[in-house]
């Protein structure tokens, strides 16, 4: 795979691995082992990842060489720690918009999964280093199902671009397009276009203004999704009024 041709800084230095435990972990070791600061936008791409962080346990079948598994190094020092969720919003928008070029009905499922209808197509895992006043460093990890055809549907509800469009894709070309999309959204963030990012995130938010069933511990309730606030909390309208929930407090139970 060649360095990304259509970007300014993302993927200009590219580490292409055949297989690795986790691209995020690899990047972290690379940072720790380097005497000098690594260049912003350094990207790791793996054909196969066998212990990915955030993979949904042992049931996740990932066929080597069929998907995008990558991590990107960024230094979003312009962000205050309390603004960190905007980075998540920007990346979710980028991955979602990238996939929308190939299929309809792609949505962001709060807080940061990408779904086609009721099936998961991509996951994002972001690991940051914060000081008191700034986001010093960010590792953007992504797994996006592209050409995979075999899934273990017992545990999850995964899908891929190929599974829904019945086409085979050039992984390298798609990865170039993804990197360009991420760079675009990141530059939007860097120019403090929070409102714009918020609008884009909500445009693609799964279940927005729809009534859904939620689970909170052992209880279930219904409510209408009204958005995701600046700190990433889900805003739900219940009969009693508006409520905000963290990612660990509730789950959106009804899908589709």
């Amino acid at each position: 795979m060649r360095p990304i041709p259509n970007t300014i800084f993302i993927g200009k230095v590219l580490h292409h691995l055949d297989r690795v435990d986790s691209t995020n972990a690899y990047l972290q070791y690379l940072i720790a082992a380097s005497a000098d600061r690594l260049t912003e936008g350094l990207t790791v791409f793996a054909d196969e990842q066998f212990a990915g962080k955030g993979q949904m346990g042992a049931g996740w079948v990932s066929e080597p060489g069929k998907n995008i598994i990558a991590s990107i190094l960024l230094y979003p020092k312009f962000l205050l720690p309390k603004q960190i969720f905007y980075l998540n919003k920007a990346i979710a928008v980028a991955v979602c918009d990238f996939l929308k070029s190939y299929s309809d009905n792609i949505k962001i499922k709060w807080p940061n999964d990408i779904y086609f209808e009721n099936k998961k197509m991509a996951g994002i895992l972001i690991e940051n280093s914060l000081s008191t006043n700034a986001v010093e460093q960010s590792i953007i990890g992504m797994g996006i199902n592209i050409n995979q055809e075999i899934f273990d549907t017992a545990l999850l509800n995964p899908t891929s671009l190929r599974a829904i469009t019945h086409k085979n894709y050039d992984l390298e070309l798609l990865f170039h397009a993804l990197c360009a999309e991420i760079e675009k959204q990141y530059l939007l963030l860097r120019s403090f276009q929070f409102k714009k990012i918020d609008d884009l995130y909500h445009e693609s938010l799964f279940g927005l203004n729809e009534e859904k069933i939620f689970t909170q511990g052992d209880e279930t309730f219904t409510g209408i999704i009204r958005g995701v606030n600046e700190y990433g909390k889900l805003i739900v309208e219940k009969e009693e009024g508006l409520f905000e929930f963290g990612a660990k407090e509730v789950r959106i139970f009804s899908i589709g």
Partner: protein, 164 residues
Amino acid sequence: MDFKEIQELIRMVNKHSIAELTVENQNFKIKIKTALANSGVTQVPVMMPVQQQSLAVPQAPANQEKTAKIEDAGAKTETANADGNTITIKSPIVGTFYRSPGVDKDVFVKVGDEIQVGSVLCIIEAMKLFNEIESEHEGKIVKILVEDASPVEFDQPLFLIEPK
């Protein structure tokens, strides 16, 4: 890329059981192949997702006992420094406080540890974002003010540090 960096890459490749690595930019290209490239693919069990570290991370009891003891000592130190000789490290965000990077991992810091500027003190997880908190001071940890896996608020004190 100099010789030292190439050496470092080779070390990485071995450490992560990578069979083949290509690094490329405008000016150079390096390809490292190891013996693994020719061997069969070994199946490695998939690790638990990091998210699930919220399911509580119990540490070895012996370890905990030790930590508890040192923390007692830390409490005394804190009293001794009540005149303002300690620096309080506060949480920059709202989230869940973790002392170690994963279920089976060692804690980042314990009471008595010497820390440098940039040392990772803890992880605060917020909305599935994993945020390592770095120290901006050089010194010694004298007290840890928050239990592992508990929620923290913005500006909540997390650590007391005796600056060097």
